[in-house]
């Protein structure tokens, strides 16, 4: 078995990441494969039923990856002070977080990854962010960019393919963000200057992301070449 095919991580994937990773196609062995498909060979992927409801209308999925947690109501109370049925905001992320905690605490699974690209859910000051911050000691908190970095480290993706994938993820994720100022401009709610400023802010954010992950790739590259026989 090639080294990279060992399933080292148990990844609980969010809707956004599922879609982004499905949309990035990589040529491997003359075949176009999505990053998600490649990731499935290197990690166990799972998600909560609430996420499945969001995914099923937009993408093909593997039913065996859908997991329900029998004592989810208890987790919901303990983590979010809420009855499980009344979770509405960040519903997919919260159900996935319950699944991640369950996998770690009760299934006794190491290397559990909570994978989401929903930066708003991850970063806005609320109870979910608080729980993520607390449990990041035990869980790995990843975005799609970390998936690409992982696949590069494991030798599944070559350097050029990796940097291409990072750029394509930026393209996919910024596209939907730019839509907001675009709509505002079309509705004459903002002028050209304000539009440019808002788009530049989005670009700045993704530029920083690119710099950060390019630097990670450089660092990994150094170690990889040092370890080469």
């Amino acid at each position: 078995m090639p080294r990279h095919s060992l399933k080292l991580f148990h990844i609980i994937i969010d809707t956004n990441s599922f879609i982004f990773l499905s949309n990035v196609k990589i040529q491997i062995g003359g075949q176009d494969k999505s990053l998600l498909r490649i990731l499935r060979q290197c990690a166990t992927i799972q998600y909560a039923e609430a996420v499945d409801k969001e995914i099923k209308s937009i993408s093909k999925r593997t039913k065996t990856e859908i997991v329900s947690v029998s004592n989810a109501p208890k987790y919901s109370q303990g983590l979010f002070d809420k009855d499980i049925t009344s979770i509405i905001t960040d519903c997919g992320e919260k159900h996935n977080f319950i699944l991640a905690m369950h996998t770690f605490l009760e299934k006794r699974q190491g290397n559990v990854v909570f994978l989401t690209d929903d930066t708003k859910a991850k970063e806005k000051e609320n109870i979910l962010k608080n729980q993520i911050d607390t449990y990041s000691t035990f869980l790995h908190i990843w975005s799609s960019f970390d998936v690409v970095t992982y696949l590069y480290q494991m030798g599944v993706l070559q350097e050029l393919v990796t940097t291409n994938a990072i750029q394509t993820l930026i393209n996919n994720q910024s596209d939907s963000e730019i839509q907001t100022p675009k709509n505002k401009k079309e509705a004459n709610q903002i002028d050209n200057d304000e539009y440019s400023r808002q788009v530049q802010k989005i670009r700045d954010k993704w530029n920083q992301h690119k710099t950060k992950y390019t630097s990670k790739i450089e660092t990994i590259k150094k170690l990889k070449s040092a370890l080469q026989p």
Binding site: Q167, T168, N171, D175, D193, R203, W206, N207, K210, T211
Partner: protein, 356 residues
């Protein structure tokens, strides 16, 4: 707007980016101006390839610089200077073709035709073809000759670079094929650019504005666009100077480097940073603009130095950029005119600000 009583010919603080060709004044930023002037003058003194990266925050004057240099600022004969300003493609799909088409259509088929004609007349067709072949290949040289000599049709040239010619038309023109790949487009443009500098002292200055658009292209498109720009700079001769305007808010050069492919980055010969202005830079910028707009230069400026400083202090440091300074000053001057104020003083400024 009647500004006579303020000793001003016009409102020097342009609210929007001015149009090309308007009579622009360079204000402040002396080091940027010097670097650009040096590049322009050196282009005629020494034959060395130049790929210039203008970078800095949004509203920092990069587009303004491109428009300012649309006019011949270095006193060379006008026929020796060709200025081409285009905006980078907004999306990655077909970005290379779009860039090439923009450059060609910006100049216009008729102008290409007369420039190519002039070059062939000077050196003869064989030598003309030889020089272009040296830079690109024989097919490109032959295509340029066939399209731009004999019975010239603007329509045919436009069709060739946009939709492509039909097979009968290709046969009639004795052309082997249309431009298909990105490489074909770049080769054709390189050939044309080389062609118009044959047998003369012409220098071509190409300004590509809003290059930051490419930072959000998808992976493959980003790579291809970078690769083709590299090829363009490799294939053209030493008489072509390309400026890339790139809006980038960070100040770290290493971060900026990651925005380009290694190959393109290594071709950049000059990097000009449009730094954020500090209060002294901003004061100089305002004073330069006001000075140029004075009707009677022996009389004092419409807005005193103290007032300039006071107005500028209203802007947070991150907004101390020409675009925002212009907006603020323009509003104050407009308010003074509209309220028929005798002079622009503290009271007028406060009242104007209250309306914003």
């Amino acid at each position: 707007m009647n500004l006579l009583k303020y000793n001003l010919k016009s409102n020097p603080f342009q609210f929007v980016t001015p149009t090309q060709g308007s009579d622009l004044v360079w204000a402040g930023m002396p080091s940027v101006k010097k670097q650009l002037m040096d590049i322009y003058t050196q282009a005629y003194q020494q034959e060395s390839k130049k790929l210039v990266l203008n970078w800095g925050a949004w509203g920092g004057g990069k587009t303004y610089a491109a428009f300012y240099f649309a006019k011949n600022r270095i006193g060379v004969p006008d026929e020796n200077l060709l200025h081409i300003y285009i905006q980078a493609p907004k999306t990655g799909e077909a970005a290379v073709q779009e860039l090439v088409r923009s450059i060609i259509t910006k100049v216009g088929s008729n102008q290409w035709y007369s420039m190519v004609q002039e070059a062939i007349t000077k050196v003869g067709q064989e030598e003309f073809k030889r020089i272009i072949t040296e830079r690109t290949d024989e097919i490109i040289a032959d295509t340029i000759v066939r399209l731009f000599t004999g019975v010239f049709s603007m329509e045919i040239v436009n069709q060739y670079i946009t939709r492509g010619l039909t097979n009968p038309k290709l046969d009639k023109m004795h052309l082997s094929s249309n431009l298909k790949s990105e490489q074909n487009f770049i080769d054709f443009l390189s050939g044309l650019l080389v062609a118009i500098t044959i047998g003369n002292e012409k220098r071509v200055f190409i300004w590509i504005d809003e290059m930051e658009e490419m930072s959000l292209f998808a992976g493959k498109q980003f790579r291809l666009f970078n690769l083709m720009l590299r090829d363009l700079t490799d294939k053209v001769n030493e008489r072509i100077i390309v400026f890339m305007n790139f809006t980038f808010s960070e100040t770290d050069m290493n971060s900026l480097r990651t925005m380009f492919s290694d190959a393109l980055w290594s071709r950049i010969t000059d990097r000009i940073r449009y730094s954020d202005l500090d209060i002294e830079d901003a004061k100089m910028y305002c004073k330069d603009l006001l000075k140029d707009a004075l009707i009677d230069a022996s009389k004092s400026s419409a807005i005193t130095d103290d007032l300039i400083e006071q107005i500028l202090s209203l802007l947070p440091p991150s907004m101390l950029i020409p675009r925002e300074i212009n907006k603020l000053f323009s509003k104050i001057i407009t308010y003074a005119v509209n309220t028929n104020a005798e002079q622009i003083d503290k009271e007028v400024i406060n009242a104007a600000l209250a309306t914003i």
